[in-house]
Amino acid sequence: MRTLEYLRPATPADAVRAVAEHPGARYLGGGTNLVDHLKLGIAAPELLVDVSRLPLDEVETYDDGSGAGLRVGANVRNSDLAAHPLVRSELPLVARALLAGASGQIRNQATTGGNLLQRTRCVYFQDPTTPCNKREPGSGCSAIEGYGRYNAILGASPDCVATHPSDLAVALVALDTTVVVLGADGERRVPLEELHRLPADDPSRDTRLAPEDLVTAVEIPLAGATKLSTYRKVRDRASYAFALVSVAAALHLTEGIVTDVRIAWGGVAHVPWRARRAEAALIGHALTEQAIREAVGDELRHAETSEQNAYKPPMLRRTTAHTLLQLAAQSREESR
């Protein structure tokens, strides 16, 4: 039997200290991802620091001077967050993204922090009998010429084509969410868009966080565009499957002209992908299918596909167009 230590710290600061002092330590949230990894033999921590009982489970509004927002504690369960009245009324895309993920049982267990930091579902990452640079740096990437249906099309490298699997992260990155991190040197705020990193030549690192960095909360601005928003996930079966592609979108139209738009994609990259170029191309224009297709094409100009994921650019184009046009129709409905 492989034994490991288990620690339940009393405060966030104790948790950070415990991990900082112990190189083989990992935080444990709901455990729905990490415990699988222990069983598969792809993670072998010597110490589990269980942060799931720290009092980081509030959902509250804040106003930091630059505007109002919603602060969500790292331990808020996915199911609780999706059901929260403010999330449902002000941030519908967050609720939809959560409910499009995993299963009821897993969402009851999964935490906000753990969800953002879950690791790729690439089948080779999960199979220790095959090479994988993310699991075993330098061993090679099996996915590039292997099972490629879920492979990244943007920002991949010759060392890794894995995608980030979280739906919640895609919704939150569209909303300019900030991540509150407690590290060895105290608290800091990191834009979610900068939390995850592209694989480049070191796919073993998913994020820019240090091992002892503890996510304590996320702060989601409640800006104008967010109310008219949605999350559209395309997958092989109707439920309980990871995205082939997904689109988080928020839209504000003024007299038919796009004055604010947010687009983020899931299933396309090692990070939740904020389509800033596509957004910029749409601002100031009327929202037509043609305009959306061109904007998406612009964002995808460096997309690289292989036979098995060649479907992703057209699927993204169509799904993004469908999602934005639906929001526009909803906007017209509401202003009538």
């Binding site: 079966r237 309980y240 057209p314």
Partner: protein, 707 residues
């Protein structure tokens, strides 16, 4: 001791009624023990735990097994490899003859075993075993250009090829020709309960006895397979399987893990050994359905009447042990045509051993044939049901015998009425509902009716009007325990509550496997034979303790007829015009299967089959990475089966009928027909919705992106 008894039709009372599952309460309260759960009460005292070490190369030779650090691990008792494992008396079956030689035949093959005091220690011990190999190049990819080996026969013992008339000339002369290639994916059975075995060796009257609990579809088959390999008489192996959480064919025969447990237990005589196979290991060790490539040619007159049917199949087997799926077999008997040809060719690959999966042959074969028929209907401008009416044969096209009870067209008529078929637009891509293209499709279903030899049952009087009825058959979750109780009650003329049924033990009278949709027919006929003989011998008021063991004699008429069940499947499909997502809001199957013994359990078989067919049509695919040689989708997150949200309005019904030529109960089999034709009906509905023809399953959203 067992006599053969000519049966007469049973007077039905309980048969045909909704008797609740007799083991339902035990199951839902968790008191029904599954294989790995057996404990002291069943003689499983102080067990050791086994873990499998699997090859990480697809072909080669094991040159060294370093067991030192594994053996040093606390709790580990022993490590067995090809040098140290007990020798087998027979080793012709390459799948089961594990650890007899250093050769590696496929990735995932068992190359060592670790025995330990706990499951955790065994698992960690297995991780610490270091195996080195001389690696040889392997071939693990099925292609059209490497599937050319002609097997001597196809599963179970059918002709490999058939030919009648002149297909090429008939195709050349046909008004309309459909010539297409259809593909089905690798599929894994994935029963809910993973395979598991408990085994121990001891002595009884001076003879070695191997006792097992095994999650199996047929305990006698396991004993008959293992005994000679272990140098034992069959009665030295006792196998029990009181509760089994599904099998879908993957538990129909013993696989390598069963032998692994028996061998490991032999080295620790007296102590039971438990093995629970993991979900990931099931993708390499417990069988699967081969991918298939079907080259179909149909030649017809302008009126749709078929002149020629050709179905050439390419598929794969393992080079280690041959298994040839009988994919073209339903094509041989389905529709009339004077000119016909079928064939099967295999690629023999360095891969895991395929085996039975629900409706082997019929499922992939009818996908190909029934999509081709839909294409022919479109080419002829005919309604697809009308096309089938025009090609209904008088006699079985294969054997030229009359069909016992072919009611395919009745199934279509009833289904059409229920489904509202008459309002269907003739053309594809004619209906849009919001963002969804909407269409409907049909397909035929068929499955042979089989009764297996080698079954017997025992009836014993318990006094006070109660009877003990025994047969070694297994209830794999289908409801066999319940329907056998009903059959026994009616055959004896008593209430179901007066029957004490014992099953799933090789010490009971022999029973054939729960497979081929033959279980209830085979076992039920034996139960009827024993009951009728018992009454003949002991009368209506038997003394307590008197008993009769009997088997059913074949009906002399049976040789003159072709026995098959039939069905029609209707599907509605919606395809999202932007994203390509597919939904099947309605699915209906109508079946002709003889008399239904218990509508509750039968419905669950049909619906389960329909769901599995839907799942094969839209989701299921095991992806083998040919570079490595193993399936890399090896859990239920990456191997998709239909979720609840995918199963919408789904229903099954059956024609009221009774087939007393086939069995004294009037029933045929029902376990597999639900999966047959279903994927084709769904595929045909997606065509009707979108006008886009997809010829391979699973049909995924990316197939419907036009730009």
């Amino acid at each position: 001791m067992s006599v053969e008894q000519q049966t007469t039709p049973v007077r039905v009372r309980s048969i045909g009624t909704h008797l609740d599952r007799v083991d339902g309460v035990a199951k839902v309260t968790g008191r029904a023990p599954y294989a790995v759960e057996h404990g002291e009460a069943d003689g499983v005292v102080d067990p050791l735990h086994l873990w499998l070490v699997q090859s990480t190369v697809a072909k080669g030779v094991v040159v060294d097994v370093d067991t030192e650090s594994a053996r040093d691990h606390p709790g580990v008792i022993a490590v067995l490899d090809h040098a140290s494992a007990p020798r087998l008396a027979e080793s012709d079956d390459g799948e089961l003859a594990i650890l007899q030689e250093p050769t590696v035949h496929f990735r995932g093959q068992i190359v060592a075993l670790v025995l330990a005091e706990t499951s955790e220690a065994a698992r960690e011990g297995a991780a610490l075993v270091n195996v080195s190999y001389d690696v040889e190049p392997h071939e693990a990819e099925l292609r059209e250009d490497n599937a050319s080996y002609r097997p001597d026969s196809v599963n179970p013992d059918m002709e490999t090829d058939t030919e009648e008339g002149d297909v090429d000339a008939a195709i050349a002369a046909a008004d309309i020709v459909v010539e297409q290639t259809y593909r089905t994916a690798y599929e894994h059975n994935n029963p809910l309960e993973p395979h598991a075995t408990v085994a121990w060796w001891d002595e009884e009257d001076g003879r070695e006895i191997l006792s097992m609990f095994d999650s199996s579809q047929g305990v006698h088959g396991v004993a008959q397979t293992l005994a000679p390999m272990l140098g034992l008489e069959v009665d030295q192996v006792r196998v029990r399987a009181p509760y089994v959480g599904g099998g879908f064919g993957s538990k129909g025969e013993a696989h390598a893990h069963v032998m692994a447990t028996a061998l490991a237990a032999r080295t620790v005589r007296g102590r039971p050994v438990k093995l629970a196979v993991t979900r990931q290991q099931m993708f390499a060790l417990t069988g699967y359905r081969t991918a298939t490539i079907s080259h179909v040619r149909l030649g017809a007159g302008a009126d749709g009447r078929l002149a020629a049917i050709e179905h050439r199949v390419q598929e794969q087997s393992s080079a280690l042990k041959e298994y040839a799926e009988q994919t073209a077999s339903p094509t041989r008997m389905m529709y009339a045509a004077p000119h016909r040809r079928t064939s099967h060719r295999l690629a023999l690959l360095d891969v895991a051993v395929p085996s039975w999966m629900r409706a082997p042959g019929e499922m992939p074969g009818m996908f190909a044939h029934e999509v081709a028929m839909d294409e022919l209907a479109v080419e002829c401008g005919l309604d697809p049901i009308e096309l089938r009416i025009r090609n209904e044969p008088e006699l079985d096209p294969e054997t030229k015998k009359p069909f016992n009870n072919r009611r395919l067209l009745d199934c279509f008529r009833r289904g059409a009425e229920r489904f509202g078929w008459s309002s269907r637009p003739a053309h594809a891509r004619a209906t849009q509902d919001g963002d969804w293209w909407v269409g409907t499709g049909v397909a035929s279903a068929t499955y042979p009716a089989m009764r297996m030899p080698g079954n017997a049952a025992r009836v014993r009087s318990l006094g006070a009007g109660r009877y003990a009825v025994a047969i070694g058959s297994v209830d794999i979750g289908t409801g066999a325990r319940t329907v056998l109780t009903q059959i026994a009650a009616d055959a004896l003329g008593v209430e179901p509550g007066a029957i004490d049924l014992a099953i799933a033990d090789t010490r009971l009278p022999p029973a054939s496997v729960a497979g081929g949709s033959s279980g209830t027919s085979s076992w039920g006929s034996a139960v009827v034979a024993a009951a009728q003989r018992f009454r003949a011998d002991h009368g209506e008021h038997p003394d307590p303790g008197v008993e009769t063991t009997a088997s059913a004699a074949d009906d002399p008429q049976a040789d003159e007829l072709a026995f098959h069940s039939f069905g029609s499947v209707f599907a509605e499909a919606r395809v999202h015009r932007w994203t390509g997502e597919i939904r099947v809001p309605r699915l209906l199957g109508v079946y002709s299967v003889g008399r239904v013994i218990n509508p509750t359990t039968a419905r669950s078989q049909f619906i389960g089959g329909l769901v599995m067919g839907l799942s094969a049509g839209l989701f299921e695919e095991s992806y083998r990475d040919a570079r490595f040689g193993h399936m890399v989708t090896q859990d239920l997150a990456s191997y998709h089966v239909a979720s609840h949200a995918d199963v919408l309005d789904i229903d099954a019904e059956w024609l009221e009928e009774s087939d007393e030529v086939f069995t004294p109960m009037g029933s045929r089999g029902i376990g597999e027909i639900g999966i047959v034709g279903t994927a084709a009906a769904v595929a045909n509905a997606t065509y009707h919705a979108t006008g886009m023809r997809v010829r391979s399953i699973p049909i995924t959203p990316d197939r419907f992106l036009e730009s």
